[in-house]
Symmetry: C2
DNA sequence: GATTTTTCTTAGCTTTTGTTATCGTCGGGG
DNA sequence: CCCCGACGATAACAAAAGCTAAGAAAAATC
């Protein structure tokens, strides 16, 4: 529980105990078994969760039926279907546990309410959105600027090597925007050629 | 000037005249001649502007020297180097006028100050970041899910055809993550094969 | 209105990626 | 303990994209 408080304070250091209590009552623990979904396309259950232990992936289902994994979640990161929460629409994406996963869950409606009632949470919402925007923007830029091989090298050099260590390679391939076969070739090139 | 007020109210409908005056005093008109820069890599001049008339592009300079255009701005959209403002660091990107352009400019520091002083602006900051996050996220997803040809078709089908009408094609190619030559081929394919 | 300059298309060739399929390995479940 | 399914490497082929260059078309400049 204090991990969620610590998370909030990373974004809003001034958050008081009293302010924390406004949210704390709405928080409940939850568990996902490996393979189980936190969000599934078509659902509308706007919830946010702090990932305490484990890992999840975010993926889309293409019309053809294949899955495309575009994001990973690890410890101490928020799990949410941002578009669904913000637009108030059913999910178009899926979030699934890659391993057994422990969460702290609360309803987005509660946070939305706190935006109106408590400036500290409104600030949290702003800073959180800004933080995610920076990350998403950097990744989009990388996608537009770099070749697949450069993107793989960039991932190696980045602080995100957790992804490479904890995620099956064919999902990393999706994440980098290439096919699994292609990533395997790129890895072979990078390994030999240096 | 009222266009900026209208912009703010699109995000915060409840913004009062008094609240608007808190920002209004800091706003100044500006003009960019075609080819002139609003932001240049290495600068640190955190400003935000509403684009009144004209168009701009956002581009990065690669080590090799070529430019990669990743975004376009048109009327009634905000112009800003979000990463530079948020991180308080010099710009790594460039924003340049594609045509003669009229702006309303204010310093990010003023807005940052208003985040502390006026809840309506903090809300504006949150909703603005959320709005941009949704857009960037959708574009990243498109980039990871769709082939270049599919992305071109998606652009045709989207509400962003302004880009195709008002921007040189080799910049659109960058925006879609392909080379100009490749986009030309894709267009030929789409035109013939329908 | 003529002349640069920029932009777009097309072509030929190379490189990379996508596709499909096979094989080896590893792990879990029966 | 064995078998099956998931995962990754590799190969062969097809398709697409990158690169270079040349020429046509359109725009901007003078």
């Amino acid at each position: 529980m204090h991990l969620l408080l610590a998370y909030l304070r990373r974004f809003v250091p001034t958050l008081t105990e009293a302010e924390w209590q406004l949210l704390a009552g709405a928080v409940r623990p939850a568990h996902l078994a490996r393979g189980q979904h936190f969000v599934q396309a078509g659902d509308y259950r706007p919830e946010i969760a702090l990932l305490l232990q484990g890992s999840c992936r975010l993926y889309y289902l293409r019309p053809s039926g294949e899955e495309r994994t575009t994001y990973f979640f690890f410890e101490n990161h928020l799990l949410a279907d941002y578009p669904s929460c913000l637009l108030g629409q059913p999910s178009q994406l899926n979030i699934q546990a890659l391993t057994d996963t422990d969460l702290l869950v609360f309803d987005y409606a509660v946070l939305r309410q706190l935006y109106d009632e408590c400036p500290a949470y409104e600030r949290f919402g702003r800073v959180l959105a800004e933080y995610h925007l920076l990350g998403t923007d950097a990744r989009l830029t990388e996608q537009l600027m770099l070749s697949p091989e450069e993107r793989y090298r960039a991932l190696l050099a980045s602080g995100k090597t957790k992804i490479l260590e904890r995620v099956p390679q064919h999902l990393v391939a999706n994440y980098l925007g290439v096919t699994p076969v292609s990533l395997s070739r790129i890895r072979a090139r990078v390994a030999r050629g240096r």
